[in-house]
Amino acid sequence: MGTPAGVARWCFWALVALVHPAWAAEANERVLVADPYLELRTGPGRGYPIFDIAERGERVEILMRHTDWFKVRTPRGKEGWVSRAQMEATLTEAGEKRTFRDVLFDDYLARRMEFGFAFGTLRHDPLLSAYAGYRLHDNFVAELTIAQSAGDFSTTSLYYASLVSQPFPEARWSPFFALGAGRFANVPKSTLVSAIETKGGLANAAIGLRYYVTRQFFLRVEAKRHVALINYNSADHYNELSAGAAFFF
């Protein structure tokens, strides 16, 4: 370890030990290799070279997951990355009837938080929005959205909560309906004369469509009708069209 790289590495690990003390020996999950072998790659990606294998009948320890890749340790102490497709064929310690594939599927079903963002138009101005959602039930998601539209004459900010109904949650192309309520603020550009800031309540209704690219990642498009409640006597209507991406935690 006299090489500069070795010294650099030891300095780095010393730093790691200081800032990351939570690396106590925790019992990792072990799975049994059922296929002829598991291929261990040097990195979490399809292009990384295969440098070792774990054979049928060996138990490997799962250290972590990064996207669809699992870092495992073989009984001989080698650590490498295995694809999800290969991991799915392994057996858990719980028994022969339960493959790791079932376990992964349960993991996806258990995910209730989702997060996404979208880009679209509101009254012909560009609109950027982000939302966080929580699945209350198979058919219902509660969402919190913040959105901002910076147009040529003014900036509009929207904050609202909505309840989304998904009648076909299992479908790959899944339509949804949403009702929401919240607040909005419209601030005109400072260069405009006699411009006044407008604030008020907001209600909206939307229809849209989700397309599940993977079990975890989906695209969504929606058309939304906003009603801006400025005072007791006046309400303005604005249409929004947006498209975006979202994923489950």
């Binding site: 292009g47 972590m64 719980a94 349960d106 198979d138 219902f140 975890q216 991406a245």
Partner: protein, 213 residues
Amino acid sequence: MTKLTILPLLMVTMTAVLPAAATAQSAESVPEPVIPAQVDRRDVHIPKIKANDVEIGAFVGILGVQDFGAKSSYGLRLGYHVTEDFFVEGTYARSKVSDASYRRLGIPIFSTEEVPLTYYNLSVGFNLFPGEVFVGSDWAMTSAVYLIGGVGNVNFNKENHTAYNFGIGIRVLPVDWFSVRFEMRDHMFTSDLLGKNELKHNFEMTLGAGAYF
């Protein structure tokens, strides 16, 4: 079903016609043994596998605002790695813009010589060239050259500008949970600050570090 009763009637009728999925129960149920004599107790549990798909990071850099010179910038990032190819990321950063050169000519643009600039954006990244970086003979670090682009907002001089960004960067991971990133990005927006509404290119070069969770 108590949750359902509190939901609006409209939503209830929407789902009433549809089969209620009972998938949530399958995780807990254990199949009945076919041969009862085998009484060895087995602990069935759902394994907890540590995932590190979320990346939290900070960066410092230099942001050049067209017509106004360059200033240091700093910011925070929150990203999520969806697949080995794609990631999504939100960024919030601060910098400053100065009209000192205009003031020297006697035509100040801003109310004060230096005004704060903040921006945020939501971007999608694509790991174009994943690979490894070698340091010496016994240390290999995974790396990726990535393209990134997205939409956001740039605010300075009390005005918001919808901004589109596009850039390229390199990410190196000394260990599985830590990343170092070097990035070049162009933040583009239209502005009429100097009398004519036109597209402005604002280049930023950053060096950042992040941790995976």
